[in-house]
């Protein structure tokens, strides 16, 4: 408290330093110490409270951002899946087998003899030879024997006898989509899904 005294505002006569000291001590009223405590405590409490609430609101905002990020991520995933599907479609259409089959459908064959026209001069190089039906090429494979897959041994699993009255429900749980109707337990052809 004593340091609060501003020397600029107090006139200090050089010859009487002890008088100043006395005056300073005498000026501090003991009873006023009490007064500033309550407001200060309230201020600190308010600041603390505001800090806590602010932090909480920040966290809450982070939560919202997280939810938003999740939904955006899902959208991005869906779009990526769509893009992928389109790319796969392009790849399927670009598959030479596909093109060859399409060409075949239109009655096209690979020319037996290459020949070129120079578009500037109109000169033909090579011997233009019309394609004949003999130039067709088989693009599909001859049917082969049964692949290994069909000769796999079935896997047998012992099931406890189902409790009475429960057996009817097993098929219905998958809804209409399981119309394939194979009982789930006995399957063993896992190759496609792994």
């Amino acid at each position: 408290m004593s340091s609060l005294v501003n020397p600029g505002r107090v006139r200090v006569p050089r010859q009487a330093p002890s008088a100043i000291e006395r005056a300073r001590l005498a000026l501090v009223p003991t009873r006023t110490v009490r007064a500033p405590r309550a407001p200060f405590a309230v201020l600190v409490a308010l600041l603390l409270g505001a800090g806590v609430v602010g932090l909480l609101m920040f966290n809450t905002h982070m939560q919202q951002a997280s939810f938003y990020a999740t939904s955006l991520q899902q959208r991005a995933d869906a779009l990526a899946a769509k893009r992928q599907a389109l790319e796969m479609e392009v790849a399927r259409l670009r598959d030479p087998q596909q093109l060859a089959a399409a060409g075949r459908k239109l009655g096209m064959v690979v020319p037996p003899v290459p020949a070129f026209i120079d578009l500037r001069t109109g000169k033909i190089s090579g011997i233009p030879t019309p394609a004949t039906s003999e130039d067709t090429m088989r693009i599909t494979s001859l049917p082969a024997g049964l692949p290994e897959e069909f000769n796999k041994k079935p896997r047998y699993i012992k099931l406890p006898p189902p409790p009475a009255g429960n057996s009817v429900q097993t098929q219905a749980d998958d809804g209409p989509a399981s119309a394939g109707g194979t009982p789930a337990g006995g399957r063993n052809n896992s190759a496609t899904a792994r």
Binding site: T32, L55, T60, Q63
Partner: protein, 420 residues
């Protein structure tokens, strides 16, 4: 006792030893206005903690279900805004008016309870104890507890001279309490019924019923509660899994188990406000019944002990008001309110700590829920009012007011601002 840890005043030359400190505490506690300040401070703090925790615990649920993180917190804030004027009025209400209002209040409560079993009733979590009123849902049992406390207090205060006889002790309080508790039980709310039973029992204790009555009553109700618990599978599961929630962690021990996990992961000082993991959907009822678990996770041991201390403070200050009260109604009503609130707190915290079975009782002032918050705040308003009007306290208040006026006059004049 945080409120007393910062004594408002200090005299020079004080003895620094423990004995001196205890003596100072005593002196401060014995001041006439101490209960008033304690009640005011503890209530305000709990309410503030409650609001913050409701926001923290409900933000995920609110955002997911209602698209707004602040959905529940704003509703709770609205309830606080509604409750404040009511509580303020309660601090000022004259005793005669209050005692008169207790009777129609009880009637309204009974009618509302009865209505929950009609078409207006709404079922929540297997208990049909809510009443749909337009956009709001209220739980009449919360109002009923309050009304019952006031009414009992009034009846026993009137019968003061007649309480020697069993007849007057029982009639009309026991049948009416029985009716209300029965109505609550019909709704399927075992927890609230237990609280009501506790309130009735507590009131009887306070007015001085012989101890042997309690032994009888407690055994009777234990049998009834056991029967009721065993009669519903869901209830039985919830009750039996409390001892070790991890035994059947996946189903019946789920809620209590996650409560414990949350509390434990909080540690000494918690994960920080808003950082709870359990509130992300694992812990059902995070912002209502299990808010204490979220509080424990985010604020740690420091936070949970603070809440315990605040409830103890309310109990201490409230019971002191009751002890000092000259008026019998004031004594009984205050005691009843304290019993009511502490019973809630004890059941709720005990449940979260897995020391009691899971029964849906919210934590007073902290949990989300307007229909419990409003009656609780009004009740505390009443107690605060009683504390203020206690003769010594009233005198002290008057003296201060005049002192402040003088001080203001002094500040305005002679003393420079810098010194104040």
């Amino acid at each position: 006792m945080s409120a007393t840890a910062h004594p408002g005043e200090r005299t020079f030359g004080e003895d620094a030893g423990i004995r001196g400190w205890v003596a100072t505490m005593r002196r401060h506690l014995d001041r006439p206005l101490t209960p008033y300040y304690l009640l005011l401070g503890a209530t305000a703090l709990l309410l503030a903690i409650g609001l913050v925790m409701v926001l923290s615990a409900s933000s995920v649920d609110g955002f997911e279900k209602h698209g707004n993180s602040y959905y529940w917190a704003l509703k709770q804030l609205m309830w606080v805004v509604v409750a404040f004027p009511c509580a303020w009025v309660a601090t000022k209400i004259p005793l005669r008016t209050l005692r008169f209002l207790a009777w129609p209040g009880l009637l309204v409560a009974v009618v509302m309870l009865a209505l929950t079993q009609t078409g207006l009733g709404v079922e929540v979590n297997g208990n049909k104890n809510w009443l749909g009123l337009g956009p709001f849902q209220v739980q009449p049992s919360e109002v009923a507890k309050f009304a019952m406390v006031l009414w009992c207090a009034d009846v026993y205060a009137r019968k003061d001279k007649l309480l020697g006889s069993w007849w007057h002790l029982m009639i009309p309080v026991i049948p009416v309490a029985g009716l209300i508790t029965g109505l609550v039980l019909v709704g399927g709310d075992l927890g609230t019924a237990l609280v009501m039973f506790a309130i009735t029992l507590g009131m009887l204790w306070v007015i001085g019923v012989p101890a042997r009555l309690f032994v009888g009553a407690v055994s009777l109700v234990s049998v009834a509660a056991l029967y009721l618990a065993a009669s519903s599978d869901e209830r039985l599961n919830r009750i039996t899994s409390f001892a070790d929630p991890f035994k059947d962690f996946q189903s019946s021990g789920w809620q209590a188990g996650h409560g414990i996990l949350g509390m434990a992961s909080g540690g000494l000082f918690g994960k920080g406000i808003g950082a709870s993991q359990q509130k992300w959907g694992n812990l059902p009822e995070a912002h209502t019944d299990f808010i204490f678990a979220v509080l424990g996770e985010e604020l740690g041991l420091a936070g949970t002990l603070l809440v315990l201390v605040l409830f103890l403070t309310i109990a201490y200050a409230g019971l002191r008001v009751a002890m000092q009260a000259e008026n019998l109604f004031v004594r009984y009503a205050t005691a009843g309110i304290v019993i009511w609130l502490t019973a809630h707190a004890i059941i709720n915290i005990g449940m979260v700590l897995a020391l009691l079975p899971v029964i849906g009782i919210p934590l007073p002032l902290v949990s989300y829920g307007g229909s419990s918050l409003v009656p609780e705040l009004v009740a505390l308003g009443l107690v605060i009012g009683f504390a203020r009007s206690e003769p010594n306290a009233a005198g002290e208040l008057r003296r201060r007011r005049s002192a402040r006026k003088t001080q203001r006059a002094v500040n305005a004049g002679a003393v420079p601002r810098r010194w104040s």
